[in-house]
């Protein structure tokens, strides 16, 4: 699985294998090298498990042993940076991730983690720069986008405080940015935002390809722009014309307004209605309906249990002020009791606007179509 939301949840997930066409050749080689031998992956997961178990000293020893033989290895260096960060050795962690950005400038994750560390030191300008580098490296990197949204909000708050000459000390709390735990994780490590990752290893989820990200919303002309002296070409505010599941949509399944393909059979219509209902429930933060959209067979990402996953979904979705989910170009194919829905999903919430291709696999159980797999990309 790998919905947009999960993309932001599963912050360690960025799989570069699927996006190599967009990446420099160097990364291709790198990724190939990374997955060349299972032995390496075992080493990584051994260290990672030690980290998850809180055995940081042992984890660091093991990482250093590994790096003594393979000093350039980006994955282990990355893990080492995380260990240093977890151990409170912030400046060492900054050094580790900085050197990774120098040696592997095409990787967004070290930039992301640098930003997390800088933000932890209240160096938000540096955090912003690092995150912007991460996004330049990988424009569809949802974690960096979300972290950047938080950093922008913090910087804006600081700027407003300076504008009003307020005492900044008791102003907004520091944002909690999401740290990436591992590069190219074969075991599906996740970000720690906010729930800690359970220690248990889990089967690898489907690779999560990058999602396309919409340009950030623009300042409408009637705002500050009303004022400028220059002749103003009215820029259109960012409002997508196609709205199938506005935030205010009723959380009832199968909204009556759902457009129906003329030639679609009943099953297709039902499956499509189920998809729309899922999106409506998500946007309306109707967690009961949203979670009920997922069948028993649905496999939560990473090592999470169903109940952990549900708890995380509740926290994630519940914490957003306004969620808008718009589905475009919904195409549903049905084979017996199985259906596949492909569409473009425009997600907007609390500072994050992401447009991505999404595929939902659905299975009909009784008279209900339920999601059994959620993946991003085509």
């Amino acid at each position: 699985m790998g919905s947009l939301l999960h993309a932001q949840d599963c912050k360690g997930f960025m799989k570069h294998a699927r996006s190599t066409v967009f990446q420099p050749l160097r990364l291709l080689t790198l990724v190939a090298a990374m997955f060349a031998g299972n032995a390496f992956a075992d080493e990584y997961s051994d260290v990672s498990q030690l980290v998850r178990a809180g055995k940081l000293t042992e984890a660091l020893t093991k990482a250093d042993q590994y790096l003594a033989a393979k000093p350039k290895d980006p994955q282990m260096r990355f893990i080492k940076g995380v260990i240093q960060r977890d151990s409170g050795k912030t400046s060492e962690a900054i050094g580790t991730f900085t050197r990774l950005t120098e040696d592997y400038p095409e990787l967004p994750e070290p930039y992301n983690n640098l930003a997390v560390l800088y933000a932890g030191q209240s160096q938000y300008d540096k955090a912003r720069t690092a995150l912007e580098m991460a996004i330049r490296t990988n424009p569809s990197y949802a974690t960096a986008h979300e972290n950047l949204g938080d950093v922008y909000a913090k910087l804006a708050s600081q700027a407003y405080n300076k504008a009003l000459q307020l005492d900044n000390s008791n102003a907004a709390v520091a944002p909690k940015l999401a740290l990436i735990r591992e590069l190219f994780s074969a075991s599906g490590a996740k970000g720690q935002r906010p729930a800690p990752v359970p220690a248990a290893a889990a089967p690898a989820p489907a690779p999560l390809p990058p999602v396309a990200v919409k340009p950030p919303p623009t300042l409408p002309t009637q705002a500050v722009a009303k004022a400028p002296p220059a002749p103003v070409a009215a820029p259109a505010p960012v409002v997508a014309p196609t709205v199938t599941a506005p935030a205010a949509a009723a959380p009832t399944p199968a909204p009556a307004s759902a457009p129906v393909a003329p030639a679609a059979g009943n099953s297709t219509r039902e499956a499509e209605a189920a998809v729309k209902a899922w999106a409506n429930a998500w946007a309306a933060k109707d967690m009961k309906t949203y979670l009920a959209s997922y069948g028993k067979e649905f496999d939560p990402p990473g090592s999470m249990s169903r109940s952990q996953w549900e708890a995380e979904r509740r926290q994630r979705i519940g914490s957003k002020n306004n969620i808008s989910i718009k589905l475009e170009n919904v195409a549903v194919t049905v084979e017996g009791s199985k259906a596949t829905a492909r569409f473009r999903q425009d997600y907007k919430a609390s500072g994050l606007a992401v447009s991505s291709r999404k595929t939902l696999d659905l299975v009909k159980t009784g008279d209900r179509w339920q999601i059994v797999k959620e993946s991003t990309g085509n």
Binding site: A156, Y160, A163, P216, V224, P229
Partner: protein
């Protein structure tokens, strides 16, 4: 001789104050040069107007790095950061809890923004000059006019061909606005003034920023009207504020330090007039010249009377309540007689004549000239205040400088 007016004043009408500085390809001005901060702010506004928020954010980031105490820049920077995550509805679109902590400051910043933009959008007509500057001799190399309604100070260069607008700056006036009457009323005086001195910044508190140029408030007209107060200066801003709200001072005219620096380096004390008006009227130089014609005739008639040496005739040009540095007309008449005895019927020449008109409930003229009798190498530099009574101009003050 009297005709030395404001012919061919060629002011330019360009979109920003800074842009009007040079016609040749402008060299990149140093970041701390006058007007640059505002030009950078306006560039950001312009980018926002073109929906180029990304580029605007880059520029705003750089601006607040250079000038972290430029509150309006911080406000716009905050908006541009916010715009990365949601649309902005108004200038200073901050969370309510923040806005509630300083609502008046937010409103002042919005007003500052509004006034800066308005002054840059609504430029003085090309070649026009403030209506007060009827004649300005070459003794005044520069002139200053303040439009309080626009929170704007205009700096002119007085060239042989007339007054040229060289730059203009955002300014702050008194907390209680304009029309100063009494000491402590926190108002900025309106009238025709001159810069009297240049105070060394080292002798000033940080509060006054890069320096101070006192003006001669209360002037003769103000004193005649019983106005009180003192210490009206053009001065800079404190270290923690790049600029101050439109109405913020105790009556002084306050500029950003780089702007004041430029003025201090440019203008001369004693000879630089400072006209402070609620709203400047901009007129064509030839129109100012013809406006001044009836006064010029009166001044010439006074000169002729003085040349003729007829005391009664001369005294008819003075108001009954005339004063000269505390003397009444009767007390001052011996001074006039002494002057006449020195001149002994020689033709009086008036050199470097300036006259600035101030019209409110009364129509007045602040006149400065050199008075030299034919055959003499030196004379007096005089200042007179005239007022119009019906269609007759009369002198109510005369003094040597």
């Amino acid at each position: 001789m009297l005709g030395m007016g404001l012919a061919h004043a060629a002011t330019k009408n360009l979109p920003t104050a800074k842009a009007s500085r040079a016609t040749a390809p402008a060299p990149v001005a140093p970041k701390d040069a006058d007007g640059v901060a505002e030009a950078r702010l306006i560039e950001i506004y312009t980018l926002i107007g073109k929906a180029q928020n990304r580029q605007a954010l880059v520029k705003a980031t750089s601006l607040v790095q250079d000038l972290p105490h430029f509150q309006l820049a911080q406000l716009v920077y905050g908006d541009l950061l916010t715009a990365q995550t949601r649309p902005i509805r108004t200038l200073g679109d901050m969370p309510d809890d923040l806005a509630r902590r300083a609502p008046s400051v937010l409103n002042e910043l919005r007003e500052e923004s509004h006034r800066r933009i308005k002054a840059l959008r609504e430029r003085p007509p090309a070649g026009a000059i403030p209506s007060q500057f009827l004649a300005l001799s070459q003794r005044s190399r520069h002139a200053i006019a303040v439009d309080a309604s626009r929170s704007r100070l205009y700096l002119f260069e007085n060239t042989a061909s007339g007054l040229n607008l060289v730059s203009d700056y955002y300014i702050s006036v008194g907390k209680a606005g304009i029309s100063k009457v009494t000491e402590g009323d926190q108002r900025t005086p309106l009238g025709v003034y001159y810069i009297t001195s240049n105070l060394d910044r080292k002798s000033l508190k940080d509060f006054y920023g890069s320096g101070a140029l006192p003006i001669n408030y209360p002037n003769i007209l103000d004193t005649r009207r019983g106005k009180t107060g003192s210490g009206i200066w053009l001065h800079g801003t404190p270290p923690n504020q790049f600029s101050r709200p439109p109405q913020a001072t105790d009556g002084c005219v306050v500029l950003a330090n780089p702007d004041l620096d430029h003025i201090i380096r440019t203008v001369e004390v004693q000879t630089t007039p400072v006209v402070i008006a609620n709203q400047l009227q901009w007129v064509a130089p030839h129109s100012a010249r013809s406006d001044g014609k009836s006064f010029e005739d009166a001044l010439m008639a006074w000169r002729n009377a003085k040349t003729s040496g007829n005391l009664d005739h001369i005294l008819s040009y003075y108001t009954p309540d005339f004063t000269s540095n505390g003397k009444t007309l009767a007390q001052w008449t011996p001074t006039l007689k002494t002057e006449l005895s020195k001149v002994q019927g020689r033709t009086i020449q008036l050199k470097d004549v300036s006259y600035l008109r101030w019209t409110d409930s009364t129509d007045t003229m602040v006149v400065t000239f050199g008075e030299v009798a034919e055959g003499f190498r030196t004379g007096w530099t005089k200042r007179q205040y005239w007022m119009r009574q019906g269609n007759q101009w009369k002198i109510f003050f005369e003094g040597t400088m």
